[in-house]
Amino acid sequence: MAETRSCDEELKAAFPSIVQDDAAQEEFSHFLVSKDLLPAITRYLHTQPGLQGRLTVLWAVDNRPIHDTHGLHYLFTLEPSHRWVLLSTELAGGDRFFPSITPHIHAAQWYEREIRDMFGLIPQGHPDLRRLIRHEHWPKGTHPLKKDFSWDRVLGRQQGEHRFRRIEGEGVFEVPVGPIHAGIIEPGHFRFSVAGEPIMELELHHFWKHRGVEKLFEQQALTAAVPLAERVSGDTTIGHSLAYCQAVESLMHLEVPRRGRYLRSLFLELERLHNHLGDVGAICNDTAYALPHAHCGRMKEQIMQLNDRLTGSRFLRGVNRVGGVAMDLTAVQLAEIGDELDRIEKDFSELESIIASNASLIDRLETTGVLTKRTARDHAVVGVVGRASGLDQDLRRDRPFAAYDELPVNVVTYRYGDVRARMRVRMDEIHESMRLVGEIRLKMPQGPIAVKPSHRTQTGDWALSAVEGWRGEILYMVMAGENGTIHRCKVRDPSFANWPAIQQAVLGNIIPDFPLINKSFSLSYAGNDL
């Protein structure tokens, strides 16, 4: 605590004009700053050796009808202490401009373009102001998250085409891929510039799946939006619904009973298991090594069938609700989980030794798609991808939620940042999750699993919540509107932070290795596009 205080003092000493908001002291430090100071103070947070601020999420709020202002909020995680520092600034009614921090904090690039698309606020000094979410055929002046934009408006179409970055020169040609891909994968467009085999440049053109999720949240009551959160990214049902529920619970000042928190951790680990198993198999399959894919597919299926038997949903839908969990597990079911996972762990260990002894596979994975620690940090990469590049971060340990304050997690990190490191992180996390599930079963307390949600929330109150899903950190910011509605819900899937980094990881690799690198990142399009 003394250390965190000193961070606050240091910041205040460097920038005397900032105002600390003491209300949020416990969870994080909150400072109100003027917009002109933003570039200087964010740069200080990011580059000062003792602070090493990582831009965690950046969001805007249209405060109408409460105030005629736009709020901009910059959340930083200080790497040494894992403490959150939130900087907030307000733009008065007619003010559409704010200074861009992208020139010195690379990780802000997509957030600022997103704010420009969704709110019509212009980040001055941003090096790339092309549209991001609104593809070029969207009519001018459509900014969906503004309060005067109706959620069910029918959009027209205008002429327009995306301008890709061009690399020109003798023998350079472009390879367009997508939006519809060869496998059963989500849509996204990749534009490669190559000279011969090696990739000189990759540009992503995403947001094909933009469904207006954040606007849809604003049409819901606080307690009723869990099914929508479950469908932000279907493979992360528990991660997203848990992050959403936690945010609403802290708005309503609810304390989830201990058994409810343990069950949440249990389901989160089950979700991690089936996704990691699928990814390990799919990485092998992308090198045309089909055997582990078949075995992993089988084990993944066993866990999904287990999910189905436990909760009636293969994706664990309907498990989380505001105040706790909706279904309890009996002692018999807990024993069943134990037996099943013991069997799968043994099964998987045998497969691991088969995979590890295949020299041609390892040769293909090593030094492929290297994401260096430096690049990973500059892009504020999170989750599995970050840990494979040596970033020692895991919210289960750093900011314990659910039952993780009583369940110490061994965080797996590798240094090399190649495809093999990302696969190894997943393999080790499979074992760690199995161990955690075992510990949860042993420690599972008795008692109620949920509390009743209260309906008293203060208009304009907001809460942040973070969950380490299987991909990485999922962040939700929920702001209450009038009568228990949602004024604003900011969703940050780990994919949004990690996608730009893939553009760096593929450089110098050959195009046939791209699917492999992409699979080792295993990012969501739905969670990214929202």
């Binding site: 069910d152 933009h210 597919g297 189905d308």
Partner: protein, 173 residues
């Protein structure tokens, strides 16, 4: 080598080790069945995601795992719409994907079947009404078969495809 063989022998055959489908309602209309006649012994489908949450895709991928092993029924996943007999469309058709869906439909050779998979493709599901959604699928292209569910279980998809082709369906005893 021996390790691999031992593993395969120990694992044995897992195909069919899944619970039976909850409902056995035949969703295919006679017209759709008629259209599916040429594909009775072999059907190549192309998956098109127009904005789903990825759960439907995961269940389609599960169809290819050893437990469901969809290829034993002569059903393949084609890499290009030009090689496909059927389009399996998921998601509520976002504004950004609308044109791509129409293009894919054009590029698929006739005769072709369109299957709307999951609640989103059938009625936009939880995304209904959003400014960014222009669906459902049948607003843009004709749909022959609807497989409801959020997401439908792999066995449900398998059954629906089998019934469409007037196969026996796959019900475990």
């Amino acid at each position: 080598m021996f390790r691999i063989l031992k593993k395969s022998l120990k694992t044995g055959i897992v195909t069919g080790q899944h619970p039976a489908a909850a409902s056995t309602v035949d969703a295919s209309t006679p017209a759709a069945k008629d259209k599916a006649k040429p594909f009775r012994s072999s059907l190549a489908f192309r998956a098109v995601d127009t904005g789903s949450c990825n759960a439907c895709e995961m269940e389609m991928n599960a169809l290819a795992n050893p437990v469901y092993d969809i290829e034993r029924f002569g059903i393949h996943i084609a890499a290009s719409p030009r090689h496909a007999d059927a389009l399996v469309v998921t998601g509520p058709v976002t504004v950004n994907m609308e044109q791509a869906l129409k293009d894919v439909y054009e590029q698929t050779p006739d005769p072709k079947i369109v299957i709307a998979l999951g609640d989103c493709a059938i009625n936009c599901g939880v995304f209904k009404g959003s400014y960014a959604v222009t669906g459902p699928v049948e607003r843009h292209i004709p749909v022959d078969l609807r497989i409801p569910g959020c997401p439908p279980r792999p066995v449900t998809i398998l059954n629906a495809l089998q019934e469409l082709r007037e196969g026996t369906g796959f019900h475990k005893d």
